[in-house]
């Protein structure tokens, strides 16, 4: 099977920040399969474990448990990273917690927690990794976001606003750090699952029938695109969100 060498991440070091979820192990595998060394970050040990397991702990992979949204946590992340690696080429932020609640019932504390995990942690890790990337004059940052960055949904305000915040930060960082040879893009997803549910079963759900391609996405559906956005060859695309959502963005 001929595969373009442009998709290789051989020799590259990637930080994968995750808020947990079943997607992280598969994204870690995609990066590793392309040849990158992956350093995973998660808030709790039980969120990091599956990622390290998926990476088989072989090779130069590793990770740390820390809350990147706190000053102590981000310091811990970068200390652990710097002990293992001398450079960071790639930063993938998949650090988002889903949350849905009627607007009137959302407490300020809940709002802050969602924005702390989804936005502040991403901001801090971009700042730290970006500092190192600027020094070397090279970097690729991919922020994985939800299509709700662009659309409204009942009960979605806190989460959707956090996703729009990350998208906006993506655009600003792209134009701010373009001259340092750093590319910053967002990869947007729709309704995803890691379970391999038969199509007929899936399509009993209205949400699935509403999706033009009539199935839920699987992290496998974004793995190769994530890899491309992390390559050196992805040189002329920056500040963009690319959605892989089964056609929802074009839905009337």
């Amino acid at each position: 099977m001929p595969i373009l060498p442009e998709y290789s991440l051989s020799g590259r070091v990637a930080i994968l920040a995750t808020a947990g979820g079943d997607q992280a192990p598969i994204l870690a595998q995609a990066l590793a399969e392309a040849g990158a060394s992956v350093f995973a970050v998660a808030r709790r040990p039980e969120l990091l474990e599956p990622v390290l397991e998926a990476l088989n702990s072989s090779g130069p992979h590793g990770g740390v448990v820390a809350d990147a949204a706190t000053p102590a946590g981000i310091a811990q992340v970068m200390d652990a990273f710097d002990r293992q690696h001398s450079q960071v080429d790639i930063l993938v932020n998949d650090a988002r917690s889903m949350f849905a609640q009627p607007f009137g019932e959302i407490t300020a504390e809940q709002w802050n927690t969602v924005h702390s995990r989804n936005v502040l942690a991403t901001f801090q890790i971009c700042q730290e990794a970006g500092r190192r990337m600027i020094q070397r004059g090279y970097g690729r940052i991919v922020n994985i976001i939800s299509g709700l960055a662009e659309r409204g949904m009942i009960n979605g305000s806190a989460f959707a606003a956090s996703q729009a915040a990350v998208l906006s930060m993506t655009r600003c960082l792209a134009v701010e750090w373009g001259e340092h040879n750093i590319r910053v893009n967002a990869l947007g997803t729709g309704w995803f699952t890691v379970e391999d549910i038969p199509l007929e079963e899936q399509q009993k759900e209205l949400l699935v029938r509403y999706t033009p391609l009539r199935r839920k996405g699987h992290p496998r559906d974004i793995g190769p695109l994530l890899v491309y956005l992390c390559t050196e060859g992805c040189d002329y695309t920056t500040g963009q969100a690319i959605y892989v959502d089964g056609g929802l963005n074009a839905h009337p």
Partner: protein, 270 residues
Amino acid sequence: MLESLSLDGKVVVITGGGTGLGLAMVRAMARAGANISIGGRRQGPIDDAAAEVKALGRDALAISTDVADSAQVDKFIADTLDHFGQIDVMINNAGAVQGNIRKPIWDITDEDWRVPMDINLTGAFYCSRAVSKPMSERGTGKIINVSSGFGLRAGRDIYMYCCSKGGMIQLTRVLSFNLAPYGITANTIVPGFIPTQQVEDSSLSRSTPRSGQFLPIGKLGKPEDLGPIAVFLASPASDYMTGEMVIVDGGGLAGGLAPTGHAPVIPLEP
């Protein structure tokens, strides 16, 4: 999971594949394993492109086609199906940069308006129409439209090019929505400023930057920048992606509210 980025055994049809961005995509797709049917108005460049594809061990056709003529488009697609037996990917890349005459709106004649609209937008429609039936019968297919940053933003006295390229983005969305039940996806590549001989020779060259100093990344694009993204969109790796666009523009469209380099520092109020 990365083997899905291969185009091994796929049949790709591309218009305008003999020069510029089209040729760069042809080269990348052939390297990724695709057999390619290349359309273009002039036989010489598409013959050369087909020879390059064959030199890589893939099969290729070069069929002189004016995409603004639906009879020629239908024949191009029929001949491709006769030869290859199937079409997996249709790339609508033919563009009329030369046809776009830059004039104030009151000086644009009906004919000035019609010609570039016919080639860019109607041509993409003709090709999509011609392939969608055979694709739907196989229950699989990918349509890729090559638009332009001018399809999303305005250019000075660039009416036809902007409108036709904007129309292609909408064509993509409507195709994606309606052909999803048949297993067909549609996406758009939106190139920004990527110098080619075609743009250089056209009136558009007066609206395109000479250097990358006005782009966030500080440099202009190269046709080769489109290779990996064209291969991705043509490959099974993009199966869950439809109705979308991928912008390849050096960061220009991410900004735009202030000129490149504008970097205000405003302290937070107490």
